[in-house]
Symmetry: none
Subunit: 202 residues, 4 copies
DNA sequence: CATGAATGAGATTTCATTCAT
DNA sequence: AATGAATGAAATCTCATTCAT
């Protein structure tokens, strides 16, 4: 399910040493893309931070874009995994919502590059970018539909709600986690959850 | 419509011919920045589309970034003006909210470049980018605070709500207006407004 | 009929200065391609010899290949013009043949790069390369056909003869002009012409 | 068939396995050099086609050029052997000439890479390139001198004639064998031979 | 004001060759 | 002998910006 299926990699390393080098490059790429954006991120910068020669980049990636794409995919997978895991055994939709939101905030606190990388994706590979959001929306839709079916929520248009909730989370994350470099205070989470609870109530 | 606070412009043109040239360049820039993103947009491309010589760009803007900044400012102003105007004489917060939302959708339908330009701004001038959202948030905050004070809404943390509403609108606009190139169907707007109404109800 | 029809040029210079620069670059390119071959010829080397900045190359040619192509075309045109002019008012086929041969030798003595450039063309643009020879062959064919029709020559397969004569001239030119940097001695020319005379006699 | 005078090879393989690997590499090199030319041919491409690791190339050749040189030598030897063998027991110069020509056409039909490889040689190792032609010319000269001495041919300058004949053969081969991928039709060979016969007649 | 040429820094990518295993 | 990773120099090309006319 994860990035090993990514067929865009030039050639997956066959030795342990190779694997290590590839990881170093990807890690550096995450940093640099996050800091400078796709266009301003240069292979020189990436390889320097990874402490490898410029040419080594091309041992593992056919070009700049491929590394970027792999990064987006891998972050996207990581985020969805983290959020899914967070839901745990909760059953009430609202409890799941709260935990997911917190998991999301935690994830981006760890990977602050995510925001900037995803937003750059819009200009690098539009489909990739849309897919990122579509996939997250799908998660919301599935959860919401179940809850509606179970009579737990009002019978709203789940698509609209999914994108609304995603927008909320995204902007709260940007405002507090990204810009202030901290988890949002409880008051924010409580307010947001109350808003959601009532907005979706039957 | 555009306030001349833009102090980064070299010198505003004095002749009518100059003004026209400047406008042509800015219009071309909006197109090109929107299509290609800041980095990939080139002065050659902009001046070609504007049908002026490359050098003429520098008659009106000290550099690429200045033109971009002015564009962001001008779009930002335009958007806020449109939304404010839309509110009109409505008094109920919800009615204002609905009209604003629709005005927002209309504006970006006209200026689809707005999204892409604003998102590029993150990598060109971070302050500019944050300001764009902060200013819009301020508008929300003001309105919400009044409504809360008037007892029209529940006593929620207005900051959180402002960013949530902005996120909702932003994502719905992206999903329907930007990606599908149309105003969202009524069902979307209705669902969103119901959600807001109940979420904010006392 | 000449290179002004070459549509591959990025943009023909509009000013006198521009025209001069373009010429300087082409002249340098002829040198460098001739000395080093297409692949080893670098834009740096070309622009240095032309005493212009690297970027200026791209003001006049979209890429390395375009400059090369134009060069081949222009040399090809030059050669054919020189040979045609040399024939002058001679009427006997053999006299024309002798003058053409000498004109050919003179031309390549002036443009020793021609050989090497044309041979590189095989790897740069195969059609271009073939055209070069086909066009020259055409010239031979036309002349031969007339002479045959006039009963001046034996009724041989003109195509075969054309390519044979071209091959002879090419190799004699390579052996004496190119490698020894001199016009072939009279003995060579006389022998060759005697060979041709008898070989083609009725 | 290949003489091991190639002193530039690192060390000839001692095991059978080694010999096989070396051959695989050379065969691949012939292909790749023929298709892409010397500069564009890459070691990666060669070793991939030979199904060996990149490093293995350097087990058998000190560098790219050495492999190329060996290839040229080996093709050159092969060609001369084939042509010599074809002459067989013929005694008339013209009969020998005809058989040689046909043998030449046959050889290049089998080794179409020959042309392209030899022409690349001009830019890789000029001496090698000249030697290739000089050696072939020598063969012609020897044969012609004998025929002249035997009173079979007119007393022409054999050097000039040798290079002329070589040029003819080369161009006919290029035009029909290389470009049309077939042995030249009989009419071509007959015309060429008639031309030679009369041109060289006493 | 407007034009278009000129500049040169910097970016991506390729590839022969070396080296550790 | 063979493998595949690592290296780094060099090449092509782009483009914001400056300048002469």
């Amino acid at each position: 399910m994860n990035q090993l299926s990514s067929s865009e990699s030039k050639s997956l390393p066959k030795t342990a040493r190779g694997r290590r080098t590839r990881e170093k490059i990807l890690a550096a790429a995450e940093q640099v893309f996050g800091e400078l954006g796709y266009e301003r991120a240069s292979i020189v910068e990436i390889t320097q931070r990874a402490s490898v020669a410029q040419g080594s980049f091309y041992t593992y990636f056919p070009n700049k874009q491929a590394a970027f794409t792999e990064l987006v995919r891998s972050l996207s997978d990581g985020l969805r995994a983290a959020v899914t895991a967070a839901a745990g055994t909760e059953t009430s939709r609202l409890a799941v919502e709260r935990r997911s939101l917190i998991a999301f905030f935690n994830f981006i606190l760890e990977h602050k590059s995510l925001y900037r990388i995803v937003r750059q994706a819009e200009f690098v590979d539009e489909e990739l970018y849309r897919d990122y959001y579509r996939r997250i929306a799908q998660g919301y839709v599935r959860g919401l539909r179940q809850a509606v079916d179970a009579g737990e929520l009002a019978d709203l248009d789940v698509d609209t709600v999914a994108w609304s909730l995603m927008g909320m989370a995204d902007f709260l994350g940007m405002r507090w986690v990204l810009w202030e470099d901290q988890l949002p205070p409880d008051s924010v989470i409580d307010t947001a959850m109350r808003f959601v609870r009532d907005g979706l109530a039957r």
